[in-house]
Amino acid sequence: MAARSERVEWGGGGVHWLARLFDYKPFLIFMCLLPAVGLLVVFLTYPLGLGIWLAFTDARIGRGGEFVGLFNYELLFTDRIFWMSVGNTILYTVVATAGKFILGLWLALLLNRHLPFKSFLRAIILVPWIVPTVLSAIAFWWMYDAQFSVISYVLVDVLGWRDTYINFLGDAWNARWSLIAANIWRGIPFVAISLLAGLQTISPSLYEAALLDGATPWQRFRYITFPMILPILAVVLTFSVLFTFTDFQLVYAITRGGPVNATHLMATLAFQRAIPGGQLGEGSAIAVAMIPFLVFATVFSYFALARRKWQQGESNE
């Protein structure tokens, strides 16, 4: 009966054409996807495309550009500051990500135990992550100040371990390590909380079984914890690499790329050249030069994730 009445409705001319249109599956799919696709096109595809186009022009602020082919890249190829920024970015990403992971994993393991005030502790370790970056950057800027650093003050005036204040941001290598430390501090909570979520999905029965077999704590970590959180580790790693690679705020707020360009990352150099310097084309070229690195990070994560099958107990192909 139901089937019959349905057919009547389909066949009947009395149903509004709009209703029929929305019953048409391909159209419905199209309509449902439209908002998401629209947002992606307007806010992601268009700016990305525009950036890539600008990289091939000599556009300046306040004046449209003409197509110049690879000219911007030729300029960059011989630009010492650009290559220094590439080196800085890689160093910054590798060291900061490694630091965040080691400390973040450690923190996650600690928080996974039964501690007093567990939820409170979990909430407050998120603070570095939720505080606006610029605010924490300003705090670090003060801590790294050449004359008013609290760290120098403690070391020199309170403890007497040093005679001179540390030149945190005035020396190229000091400045690089200072920025990496600030980035690690900021990134730990994200890693820790994500890994903690992964840890909590591991069934306690696995640990019980291991205990019965006489496994040591290290063996339990190596053969149960680590493989079980590997998938989430890969995802968090990818995100962390992407965030660190494209970091801008910390560096811009603390050193503005100084001393003498020694701490420019590709993102800050792109901004410096494009917006204050007005050379939109060249700035875009620097930004576009980041894309291969980012693609590499994404591909890496894809292959890391593809190993999931093996972790679920199937044969390792």
Binding site: R80, T164, Y165, N167, G170, T255, G258, P259, P276
Partner: protein, 444 residues
């Protein structure tokens, strides 16, 4: 607000005059000579509102009096004005975005040569500049340099902050100098002695828009070097520049450690906390000390003295100053209201109290303000009087434009001096690198 007739505008002016003299309460009666020039007749658009963007304050009175004068403008004209203050480093990007997007603040009080980057999208302000110039005895040379492009006024220079030697007199006296010597050798000797006495000098070498640009340009210009010649050919890699860098390196050795990372605020803080005995700065350090709530710091103000920067082998003063220019972009929907706003802020009823309360922090671009009270009461302030009269412009000896702006925004001069000072490069290498970087901008 309905469209204004000429008579209304004149009435507005008179109202402002009355309001101004009420506020001035007797003490501000310095005779800024004014010629009788009628206020131009630009009917304010109906429903006009304004957004004004300017650099953030370095002395508190700057913001206080700018706001006061703006409120007065709203009172007199009925045009609501929204004021925005932007940090020094971010003002250029904000201006750039507004110019590129074609929407943003109606009046932007932007950095020095910014107007020359946006010539095509700026409104012609020749009538406004002519009016102000006629009324207030003309513009100082630096104002004309920054305001005029091809015979047309593209911006109204609002003021300039200039660098002078700021020093602790007692410490300078202690090492055997009565005052700061006016020649380079004497200056270096003084700094060396100050360093030995535990009161080192400190001049910014980080990417400090105001301070680092100020002293590094002075240094190179004083020795006869320049980024470009009169025809905009890059000439920075010269023996004069290398001499300047050698001198800079010797001077750097008398600095307090850490100046490589200093931004605009660092020397102020270090000076006021007694860590350095000499720096180059605007009047903001003296202002802060004089107006401090801490009696100890107020005492310090007694010991703060100012001097012109030493004159090098070129034989004339080579200080650089940071000019701020009021621009109106094409996109501004109420250009007449915007023009009246700039005019109003420059009129003596507003500008004079502003100048006096900022004790000359932003120097006057109009000659008549030379007679302002601010230059007559405190000899320490008088050192700053002629910043717009005899400072050199950013792209000295060449012209102002997108290339000079890019060179400045990319801190080519500052980083050349910094690299040579901290030993990252030899003076020869640093000059060659600066030449390479500057050529790139001047070529395209």
């Amino acid at each position: 607000m309905r469209g204004l007739t000429r008579r209304d505008t004149v009435k507005l002016g008179l109202g402002a005059l009355a309001a101004g003299s009420m506020l001035s309460s007797g003490t501000l009666r310095a005779a800024v000579p004014v010629k009788d020039v009628p206020i131009p007749d630009w009917p304010i658009e109906e429903g006009a509102t304004l957004r004004v963007l300017r650099p953030s304050k370095f002395v508190s009175a700057d913001e206080v009096w700018f706001r006061k004068n703006t409120e007065k403008f709203t009172e007199v004209t009925g045009v609501p004005v929204k004021l925005e203050f932007e940090s020094w480093e971010d003002l250029r990007p904000r201006t750039a975005v507004a110019a590129n997007v074609g929407s943003g603040p109606d009046v932007i009080v932007g950095w020095s040569d910014d107007p020359f980057q946006y010539v095509d999208s700026l409104r012609d302000l020749t009538d406004l500049a002519t009016y102000l110039g006629e009324k207030y005895g003309g513009w100082w040379p630096l104002a004309e340099r920054y305001g005029i492009k091809d015979g047309k006024w593209i911006s109204i220079p609002y003021g300039a902050a200039g660098g002078r030697v700021v020093y602790r007199k007692s410490w300078v006296n202690d090492v055997g100098y009565e005052e700061v010597p006016g020649d380079l050798d004497g200056f270096l000797d003084l700094c060396r002695k100050l360093k030995k006495a535990g009161h080192p000098a400190g001049l910014a070498l980080g990417n400090a828009v105001g301070d680092a640009n100020a002293w590094t340009h002075w240094l190179v210009w004083a020795h006869g070097g320049a980024m470009v010649d009169e025809e905009d050919n890059v000439i920075i890699n010269s023996k004069e520049t290398i001499e300047a860098l050698k001198y800079g390196k010797a001077l750097y050795e008398t600095f307090i450690p850490g100046t490589e990372s200093w931004l605009d605020a660092n020397n102020n803080k270090a000076f006021l906390s007694g860590q350095i005995g000499l720096t180059q700065n605007g009047i903001s350090i003296y202002f802060a000390a004089k107006n401090s709530e801490d009696p100890k710091v107020r005492e310090l103000a007694e010991d703060i003295y100012h001097a012109r920067m030493p004159i090098g082998p070129v034989g004339f003063p080579t200080e650089r100053s940071l000019v701020v220019n009021a621009m109106i972009f094409d996109y501004a929907p109420y250009p007449n209201a915007a023009k009246h706003y700039i005019r109003f802020m420059m009129e003596k009823e507003q500008y004079d109290p502003f100048l006096i309360n900022c004790i000359g922090y932003w120097n006057h671009p109009l000659v008549a303000y030379d007679e302002s009270e601010v230059w007559k009461t405190d000899p320490k302030v008088t050192v700053y009087q002629h910043i717009m009269k005899d400072s050199l412009w950013d792209s000295y000896k060449g012209s102002l434009g997108p290339a000079s702006q890019a060179v400045l925004a990319d801190f080519v001069m500052v980083q050349m001096v910094a690299a040579a000072c901290i030993g990252q490069a030899t003076p020869e290498e640093a000059a060659a690198e600066a030449e390479r970087r500057a050529r790139r901008y001047y070529k395209t």
